[in-house]
Symmetry: C2
């Protein structure tokens, strides 16, 4: 790894941490350069534009997320254990030193949701990929017999994501000391409903008509 690449990684590491607290737009080239003891122009040259830097931050954070959450979870047995591992590792990620301001993707989501551009596109791509991965894990939980056969994996992925968003809200904004407890209680209810018979959460199509989601691409994370 050449010297440029080393510097680049250091920049992205610091930038990711900063973005989790101040948002992607809040990461200014000047502050970032000063923090790292670099010149503004020297740092800038690594990316060519602030927009490109933002995209690289998202990719860097996604790499870290895979290392911290996805990879360890894949070491767990298929089905419910793996789903639980995802949840616990995900909680840990939100408190990790990589993102001192809480999960970067949560912050970026509401920041980019009305700002078209490459950064938004990358974020959407990553999020859909992640939701698909969760659904796949849940689906293998069905074939393992851990979950009801008629449970809806996409709904489960959506609900799990909602639980994490609620956790972030309680933890980062409200500073609620019960945030962990709340999130775990929600998760247990989710899993219980996925096991139980009868209509409940993660249930199949109970409403007459529902709009189709955009077709999900099943690409490797």
């Amino acid at each position: 790894m050449g010297k440029g690449e080393v510097t680049r990684q250091a920049i992205l590491e610091r930038a990711t941490a900063l973005a989790s607290r101040c948002g992607l737009e809040g990461v200014s080239i000047g502050h970032l350069a000063e923090d790292l003891g670099l010149s503004k122009s020297g740092l800038f040259a690594h990316f060519g534009s602030k927009e490109a830097l933002q995209v690289e931050i998202l990719r860097f954070a996604a790499d870290r997320f895979v290392q911290a959450v996805v990879r360890p979870a894949l070491a767990e047995p298929r089905g419910e254990p793996r789903v639980r591992a995802i949840f616990e590792r995900w909680l840990g990620w939100s408190r990790s030193h990589s993102v001192p301001g809480g999960c970067l993707f949560v912050a970026a989501a509401s920041e980019l949701d009305d700002r078209p551009g490459p950064a938004r596109n990358e974020l959407v791509r990553l999020q859909k990929e992640w939701m698909d991965s969760i659904a796949i894990c849940f689906r293998s939980g069905i074939s393992e017999g851990h979950f009801r056969a008629d449970a809806d994996p996409e709904q489960f992925a959506h609900d799990l994501y909602s639980v994490m968003l609620g956790y972030h809200h309680a933890q980062r904004l409200l500073r609620d000391p019960a945030a962990d407890f709340r999130a775990r209680a929600s998760m247990e209810a989710l899993l219980a409903a996925a096991r139980r018979r009868g209509p409940s959460r993660a249930a199949p199509r109970r409403r007459p008509v529902r709009p189709r989601s955009a077709p999900r691409q099943r690409r490797t994370a």
Copy 2:
């Protein structure tokens, strides 16, 4: 209402709409003034500082929220009907013309969660108040016999908020056409669990120890 107050309301209306798309920090005095055909300094004089403007935006949006969601829901019968009304009106609010970029509070939450100051304080106050209101509505659903006596109202409030956060994520970022369907399915599962016997979502203290939340103040909205 004097002329100054009329202008002030017009400013806040436009500012609230803008903030829902660009965030509180994204509302610049210059753009706002230009949009309204005012001078920058003339607009500025109404608030004295950008920080004060942000606080006023939050209060204005909260007023609108009460008018659009809380007040109509209070017209419904206590218990489950009122809880359902809250949910449906809340969904509607997220799509209302008052906040074209989606619920302002969701956007502000991740923007302010690591930025101390008056705006953050006001947002936290409003959010805690709202969570308390939800819990109170749920509690009256218990006394009406709609929900299990051992259900946890605070957990329900947290879970309902999570559902709304998930809806916002699916709707605003992913542009998922099934966002409404997902949110309603989650809500139905929440209500089902609140009715059903046995351990499940909105369940009482099942874990040995849980940290106490900050004491909630029960003030009028």
